[in-house]
Each structure stands twice: as structure tokens, then as C-alpha cells.
Symmetry: C2
Subunit: 387 residues, 2 copies
């Protein structure tokens, strides 16, 4: 089979390293950390000491809300992972394997998905029937371990997550050498990539004064169709529900580098509150990335529990809360960053008293463009939001 041969030879040639001179400063830095990790192993071996690494703990008990910085951060607890410990040997070796996979990606100047990395590294260990990873559920947490171990974003390791999320508005960016005018993106919009680090995405020119972030694609399209961002000189984004890392990181950069305030329009339900909470304070399982993701100044514009009465909505749009909604609402009310906020306590109590939730789409009951022409402009005008 001639094909097989050519396939193999090409695969080998793929392994050629990129010219180190071509690596970006960030890539060099990450590569340095990865090499340092490996050097540590060699050092210990030379000293005839058992190889080990201390991985910062990503557990709930090691995440805490920093009141000064106003986001969730990781504490100092670490877990030792040793090669010569039967219960830890596999994860120890997996950690080194993931590190070497990331090194390969950086050296070749390529990126891949977490699934791609899993496939890249999955193989049967020579002379055994043991797989390096049985499934992706084994490699995903190791990627997060390497992130915290090296204090590097996943994106800096050249691994990407999903890239839901779209942007339009009065900003020109440069993405991988292409200048993209986000005010000329038609009905479709610019697809926010998963990796939006400065090496990939630069801000060229921005006249927008704020960011309106909405929960869903469908709501985003209403705002885009009505050219809300043109009338109000802003940037319009959505994250397809809970925004993925790329969207959160881009919002963070827009907020911090360009000083743009961020207003969120989310559903009036515990899930909407939670999305806001993650944008604002970070999440527990990504606590180590809060400082590059969390936006404590983000504002919650709506929907509010008072909106049913305030906007005089029809009974038809109410969606009854279920047991899980009630439970989640109570948990969220107890989050440290909501606990001392009377306005948030009132908001969540009112949701529970209403015993129904409201989707942003429900406002269409008042007119197709009620949300873009009345609801949001009034909230902005009156500076009426929660934070």
C-alpha cells in the first residue's frame, strides 16, 4: 500500500521544530516554564531523590473570594504528586506527557483542542496493555493541572476550548495579521476565537464607549439587526450561554486595556445570575485564571425580577421555577459577593417570591424591538443596574 508509506513519511516530517527565532516572547516564556518542569525532574533524579511535583490544589476548599481584588482566587494548598507512589505514578507521568505535548505544539507553532491533545498523546505504553489515557476525562484535568503548575493560561499552552461567541461593533481588531472591522460584519458577526491573547488578537482602533454582553445568540441578533451598537456606539457580544474562556478573556482585555464598561443582559433566572457571577468574580474551577478573566466592575442590567411588573408583561411569559431553580437561587444568594449586597438579596428574594423566571426573549411580547429600543436604553439612561 503506497498510501501508507506516504502517510507515514509525511507524519514524520510534521515533527520538524519551528525556527526558535520565530517564537513569540510569550511562547518563549511558556516554553521556558515547560523546560523548567522537565529540568526539575532530571535534577531530582541526579540527586537520587524521588521525582515529584507540587500541584496547586484546584479544589473548592482551596478557592476563596478575595474581598480586595473582588474575585475568586486560588489559595496556596498544593498536592504532591510522586513518581514512586503507586497511586500517583500514572497521574505524574500523565502530567509530564501533557507538558511534552504542549511543548510540541508551541515548537511547531500550532494549536489544538483539548480533544486533539488527548488524541495526540493517547497511545499504548510499550510492552504493556496500559493506555496513557483511557478517555478524555483523564486528560482534561491534567491540562488544568499543567496550567496551574506553570501559571500559564491554557491558551498559552496552545490548547483551546470551544469558541462559541460573536462580536460586532465600533472596533477594529487585528486577528492573526488580518485587520477586521467589527462594524462591517453584516448579519453574521465576527466569531470570537478561543485564543485571544495579544499574540493573536490586537486592538487597532476603538471608538466604542461600552460593551453590551447578552446571553444568547438569538438576543444578540435582535440587537445586531436593530444596529443597537451603531446607535449607542458600543460593542455587542454574546457567549452562547455561559461564555467560554475566549469570550471571557476578550471581555477582560477590552475592559482593562480599553477601559470599556461592561453591561450584561441575561435571563432572569439562577442560570443568568450565575453567568453574571462568573463574568464578574470568576468561577471556582478556574479560580487560578480569575486575574486574567474576572471583571469585578461588570454590571447586571437585567432582566430583573421586578421586570414582570415594571414592563407590564403578560402572564403568558412566566416560566414556573422548579426545585432546582429554587435551590440554586438560594445558593447564589449566599455567594460571598452577593451576600452583603442588599440589592442582590432583594433581587433574588423577589425571584423566589415570584416563583417564575423570565427569559430576555419574553420582552418581545411588548414589541419586537422593545428590548433594544426601550428596555436597555432606559436602564442605561437611568444608570439602573445591579453590581
Amino acid at each position: 500500500m503506497a498510501k501508507k508509506k506516504s502517510a507515514n513519511s509525511s507524519s514524520d516530517s510534521n515533527r520538524a521544530k519551528a525556527d526558535p527565532a520565530k517564537l513569540s516572547p510569550q511562547d518563549k516564556k511558556t516554553l521556558g516554564s515547560l523546560t523548567g518542569l522537565a529540568d526539575g525532574v532530571v535534577d531530582l533524579a541526579h540527586k537520587s531523590r524521588a521525582p515529584h511535583m507540587d500541584v496547586p490544589s484546584r479544589s473548592l476548599s482551596n478557592a476563596r473570594y478575595n474581598k480586595t481584588k473582588r474575585y475568586i482566587e486560588m489559595g496556596n494548598n498544593t498536592t504532591r504528586r510522586e513518581l514512586f507512589n503507586l497511586s500517583q505514578a500514572k497521574s505524574y507521568m500523565q502530567t509530564l506527557l501533557v507538558s511534552s505535548g504542549c511543548k510540541q505544539l508551541i515548537e511547531e507553532g500550532k494549536t489544538t483542542s483539548i480533544r486533539g491533545l488527548y488524541y495526540l498523546l493517547k497511545h499504548t505504553i510499550d510492552g504493556t496493555k496500559e493506555e496513557t489515557f483511557n478517555d478524555q476525562a483523564e486528560s482534561d484535568p491534567i491540562i488544568e493541572d499543567v496550567e496551574v503548575l506553570l501559571n500559564a493560561l491554557r491558551e498559552e499552552l496552545h490548547v483551546y476550548a470551544s469558541n462559541r461567541g460573536t462580536m460586532v461593533g465600533n472596533i477594529i481588531i487585528n486577528d492573526s495579521g488580518d485587520e477586521i472591522d467589527c462594524s462591517r460584519m453584516g448579519s453574521g458577526g465576527y466569531n470570537i476565537p478561543s485564543i485571544v491573547e495579544p499574540e493573536v488578537v490586537q486592538f487597532v482602533k476603538c471608538s466604542a464607549k461600552f460593551i453590551l454582553h447578552v446571553e444568547k445568540d438569538t438576543v444578540w441578533r435582535r440587537f445586531n439587526e436593530d444596529k443597537f451598537w451603531r446607535k449607542h456606539n458600543c460593542i455587542l457580544t454574546h457567549g452562547g450561554g455561559q461564555p467560554p474562556r475566549g469570550v471571557r478573556r476578550l471581555l477582560h482585555r477590552l475592559h482593562n486595556e480599553l477601559g470599556l464598561p461592561i453591561y450584561c443582559v441575561l435571563d432572569n433566572d439562577p442560570w443568568g445570575y450565575y453567568i453574571y457571577s462568573v463574568i464578574k468574580q470568576g468561577s471556582i474551577n478556574l479560580a487560578f485564571e480569575s486575574k486574567r478573566m474576572a471583571i469585578p466592575e461588570a454590571k447586571y442590567l437585567g432582566l430583573r425580577s421586578i421586570d414582570f411588573e415594571r414592563c407590564n408583561l403578560s402572564n403568558s411569559v412566566q416560566i414556573r421555577l422548579n426545585d432546582n431553580d429554587r435551590k440554586r437561587a438560594k445558593q447564589i444568594a449566599n455567594y460571598p459577593w452577593f451576600k452583603d449586597k442588599p440589592k442582590w438579596q432583594k433581587e433574588i428574594k423577589k425571584l423566589l417570591d415570584n416563583d417564575f423566571k423570565l427569559e430576555v426573549e419574553a420582552l418581545i411580547n411588548k414589541g419586537i424591538s422593545f428590548v433594544t429600543e426601550t428596555y436597555v436604553p432606559e436602564r442605561l439612561e437611568e444608570q439602573d443596574w445591579l453590581d
Copy 2:
């Protein structure tokens, strides 16, 4: 509450009709069909006859494979829906309600999602406790009824579905007045909107020679990062799994209006086969739209059941078939358009014999860019595909 008042007044002003002179020829045509439907009701009433409509049946028994046209089409069966029939009165009225909602959208020059339309039309019927729609599961099929009744695409009724799907490549399009050069879209790409009818999306200039359509976002990014579309002068699209209507319709237009062949790179599993089948032949529940969606000439480039051996892949990348996979594979082998194709029969038999499936990502095991530098170029070079 002053806010309530302003909210209401604005909502009323939203109802203003668009200038009929501004309507596109397509909108005028659709509006004519909608008005015709309503006129029919009035006519029957004037003649003192029971109002009714004959809705083309969207059942499996009314879908058939047209061997000449090579796609699934809808038969001629219709179901009568009468106002003065207790079991049909509600759906009769819902049909008129959806029609009037679409009329409103077109007249206002706006579009909405199927969820938006549900909220727009949902209300308690005066003097009763009856809701026009209890939930969206009631309004969605009625939208499809109106589509077949008027022989109008959902998009022509100004209602959109989800808009997963991204495009890059050597084509310049015009989307809603914005010229978009899809060869200058950075890492993110152009987000394919749900509505891609000629009123919204026009093809300005295209030098690409074919379309490579891949199943998933993650695979698409590998091809985009390697600038496959530049090297091979093509357009690169994905549909986020089963491509939504907008993507299918855009592929159809690119194929038919610009004469571009389409090659699909999908997972080697029944789901991948099914995606190909829908792109090629249409689907049963959208049989009425086949002529504007189906692309009988689309080619299946891979992954093939022979690829495990052909590409000399590691055992590690095999994913065992489950009962449902085996059942689906047998069903697909029996589809009329695969039944008489020895190559497809062999392909599916080999999948069952392998008893494992392969994801496109599995090729990364041969090198990060094996799929873009070896696998796909070799298939194209050798004209080695299924159809």
C-alpha cells in the same frame, strides 16, 4: 410608575408598519402568500362555508426519494384543518396566528428566532384561561406547517433557526450591505448567519475552486490555522455537527450559483454518515425544502472505515461501537440512496466489521497537521471519495 408608561408607549410605536416601498421583491411575494391565506378564510366565510385549509403532510409516509432529482421530496398528501372541528380548531387558529406573526415581522422589516415568535404570539385568549400556545413545542411545528402551506422557506417568513457554522476562504460576500472578505477573517472566521437568502447575502467575488466542509469547529480550526484554504484555493466551512439550515442553504447556493464542488470531512461513524446524507439528499422532516437545500453531488471524502489500516493508526484511537451505533449503521445502509451503491455498502459493512468508530481528530495521532497536509490532499489528488 413612570417607567411602565414609557415602556407601553414605545411598544405601541414599535408596531408601525414599514414603508411597503422598502420591501424586497421576495418580501412582497411572501406577504402576498400570507395575505392570500387570510383572504381564503374571509372568502369561505362570505360563502357561509366552514373555514379550512389543506396543509401538506410532513409525515414519513409523505416523504419519498426522487431518483431523478436525487433528493428526498414531499409527496402530495395533505391534511385538512378545519375551524369548526373541535379537535382541529386550536391548530387552525394557531396556524393563522403564526401567519399573522410572520406578516408582522415582514412588515416591520425584522426577523426573530422560533423562540421569539413563540413569545411574540403567546397570550391568554380574552375571556378564557386558554393560552394561544402552551409551550414552544406547540408553535414550532406550526411554523413548519406555514412553510409548506405557503411554499416559503422559514427564512422568507423572517424566522431564523440557530446559526452555528463558520466560513473562511477565497470569497468576498456582501452581508446586509457590508462587504466581507472571507480570506481576511483571522482565526475567528465569518459566522454564517441563519438567513442567507440573496436579499441578505450576495456573492461579490469568488476565486475558490471548491468547498471543504468539515463536521466540527475544532477540525475547522486546524484547517484554518494551516491556511489550507489558501494553499488549495477553496472555501472552508463547518456546521457545528449537523449543519443548521443557514449553513446548508449557503452550501447549496455556493454549489449551484458558483458551481463549486463540495467535499465533506466527517467522523467515521453513523452520525457522520447521517450528516453527509442530509447535506446530499435532504432530511425527512425538511423534505419540503430539499430543492433549496439538498446537494446530490456532494462528496464524502472521509473518514473511511479503511482509514484505520490505510493510515496505520494506533489502536488507541478506536472507539467501540455501541448498540445504537450498530442499529443506526444498518438503517443508513438501507437508505434508498445508499442501498444501490456498492461502495457505500462496503463502507458501512467495514464499519460494522471493525466494530469501532474513528473521529477526524484521531488523525492527530499521525501528526498535528496530518489531516490538512496529507490525508485530505491525498484524497483530493487521487479523487478518492464516496458519493
